[in-house]
């Protein structure tokens, strides 16, 4: 069989369990979606408690919806190789004659599909429940910035998965730090320019900030944005390329180091 054929079979094989999990692990799907809906509701209610304009409800809903992808990137991409190691699956992956990047790509595509289900439900439930206004001022840019953001975010997840492979239980702390603190710094529920340019640009090292901002600008207009939309899209493209190459390099490097240091089969550390 040609090597490209094997690569795509690996991608499909790794993506499949994640896609089918939407139905087979319905308890997780429904439970996780309800939890996200609850937190989204709390954020909208915070805005309601201070009589904020209704656009801010939409920001909170949009942020909650898009952050589902970030949650998936951290817990199901970055942490995945660590979990596979703990479960004893990693060594099986390593002795299989497969392309490891194809494995990560499959994880990413499966994760995106799985998360889209949750993100769509959160978004539309939020909009309907709180009667939040919704506009799409630049549909073309919305599609472009959304997909660029997804590629960049999953690139981060792929890069982090290799780094997490080397670590022990501290990955939990790192993953925790990538959640709520990152939600704050990336301006998930409010326009990121609220943070001020120095802090906002620093936070933008993680593509989540530009991703959210670009999507928000495409929908609600450029007056809410940190940088002009075209620049943000360009930066997202650069981030996508950078993080995917970083993932490729990190995977090779970390796999080698893990073998040298005997960490591929090390558990419970």
């Amino acid at each position: 069989m040609k090597s490209e054929g094997i690569i795509w079979r690996v991608v499909f094989a790794r993506a499949y369990p994640r896609v089918i999990a939407i139905v087979r692990a319905a308890r997780w799907t429904v439970g996780g979606t309800i939890v996200s809906l609850m937190y989204m509701a709390a954020l909208v209610l915070i805005y309601k408690s201070i009589n904020a304009p209704k656009e801010y409800y939409s920001f909170a809903i949009l942020g909650s919806s898009l952050l589902s992808y970030w949650d998936n990137v951290i817990w199901s991409m970055a942490m995945q190789l660590y979990w596979d190691k703990e479960d004893g699956l990693l060594e099986i992956y390593m002795i299989a004659p497969i392309n490891r990047m194809a494995l990560l790509t499959g994880m990413a595509l499966g994760g995106m599909t799985m998360t889209t289900f949750r993100a769509v439900i959160i978004f539309f439930t939020g909009i309907l429940l709180f009667k939040a206004p919704i506009y799409v001022q630049m549909p073309g840019h919305l599609v472009l910035s959304f997909f660029l953001a997804l590629i960049a975010l999953y690139g981060v997840g792929m890069a982090f998965s290799s780094l997490f492979l080397m670590w022990g239980r501290q990955v939990w702390a790192v993953a925790d730090l990538m959640m709520e603190p990152m939600h704050v710094l990336s301006g998930s529920y409010f326009p990121i320019k609220t943070l001020g340019y120095p802090l906002a640009l620093m936070a933008s090292l993680v593509p989540l900030a530009f991703g959210l901002d670009a999507v928000r600008q495409s929908m609600f207009g450029s007056s809410w944005g940190l940088l002009p939309l075209k620049y943000e899209e360009l930066l997202l493209l650069l981030y996508s390329i950078f993080y995917i190459f970083l993932a490729r390099y990190a995977l090779r490097k970390m796999e080698y180091l893990a073998k040298v240091e005997g960490k591929l089969t090390l558990r419970w550390q």
Binding site: I34, M38, L45, D87, D176, T194
Partner: protein
């Protein structure tokens, strides 16, 4: 087993909990920094939301600081109790061994959760630092605060245990249940906004949740008054009694749930269950 051995076992489980929680960090300072970052982020999330709208109200800010920082104690207790069972069963695979020791696993879970509580209290100290930083008026009633905080910790562990018991008979999904309960408490307890924001039907849920009264007691003990217009009409003694009664109910309920769930888990052979979480 003698009472002395129970105490010894309980202290050992607290010590074990502290070890497991802290020993990934090279020094306790790293852990404390990490433990502080989370409540800092959660408070600043709301502060930035206020900034974005251009809103500033000391009362609302005080409400948020008390709610967000203490919410960590509650969520930590709920998360830890369920996580301990899953971790022992699925990760370390020692749950069955726990049950063949003469010590009570119920006390092990409480000890492990209590160790987390001790660390979560770092975030509570942070609440007072924020009050100082924002020049917010503070009128601390130490006795009421100690009463509320202690009872809150006990209630949180009891609530967590009630929920965690379900995990004994569940193949997986404990974290989903745990997070669902945390989310329900966060939305309906009025931790970060007054209950008046909620629709009428949702307020009835709030009145049924003991945590609502806990936050009210904490606000009264720190600020000297309650910032929630719906709860402000209740007397301190009423709140304290309501909270005490609901805590006792949850303690009893958690023990009954634990006994039933462990009995069913043993019967169904689920103490050795591995579901690849």
């Amino acid at each position: 087993m003698s009472f002395k051995n129970y105490v010894k076992g309980f202290i050992t489980s607290i010590w074990l909990g502290l070890k497991i929680t802290l020993n990934w960090a090279r020094s306790p300072l790293i852990y404390i920094t990490y433990a502080l970052v989370l409540p800092i982020a959660s408070v600043f999330l709301v502060i930035f939301m206020y900034w974005a709208v251009g809103y500033y109200n000391p009362q609302a800010l005080a409400h948020v600081i008390v709610g967000q920082t203490h919410a960590y104690v509650l969520t930590d207790a709920i998360a830890t109790t369920s996580w301990v069972i899953e971790d022992d069963r699925e990760h370390y695979k020692v749950l069955k061994y726990m049950f063949i020791t003469p010590f009570s696993y119920y006390l092990v879970i409480i000890g492990r959760a209590l160790s987390h509580m001790l660390i979560a209290l770092v975030g509570v100290i942070y609440a007072f630092i924020l009050f100082y930083a924002y020049h917010l008026p503070i009128s601390l009633n130490v006795a009421l605060y100690v009463y509320s905080l202690s009872l809150g910790i006990i209630a949180s562990i009891a609530l967590g245990l009630t929920l965690a018991s379900i995990i004994f008979v569940m193949p997986r999904g404990g974290q989903v249940i745990s997070r669902s309960l945390q989310a329900i408490f966060y939305v309906f307890s009025g931790a970060v906004y007054p209950l008046t924001v909620l629709p009428e039907w949702a307020r009835w849920i709030s009145y049924g949740i003991p945590v609502t009264y806990w936050y009210s007691l904490l606000r009264r003990s720190i600020l000297g008054y309650d910032t929630d217009p719906l709860l402000v009409t209740l007397y301190n003694n009423d709140l304290m009694t309501r909270f005490l009664i609901s805590t006792i109910i949850f303690i009893v309920f958690s023990y009954i749930m634990y006994r039933v769930a462990t009995w069913r888990a043993k019967k169904a052979g689920r103490l050795e269950l591995i579901s690849s979480i």
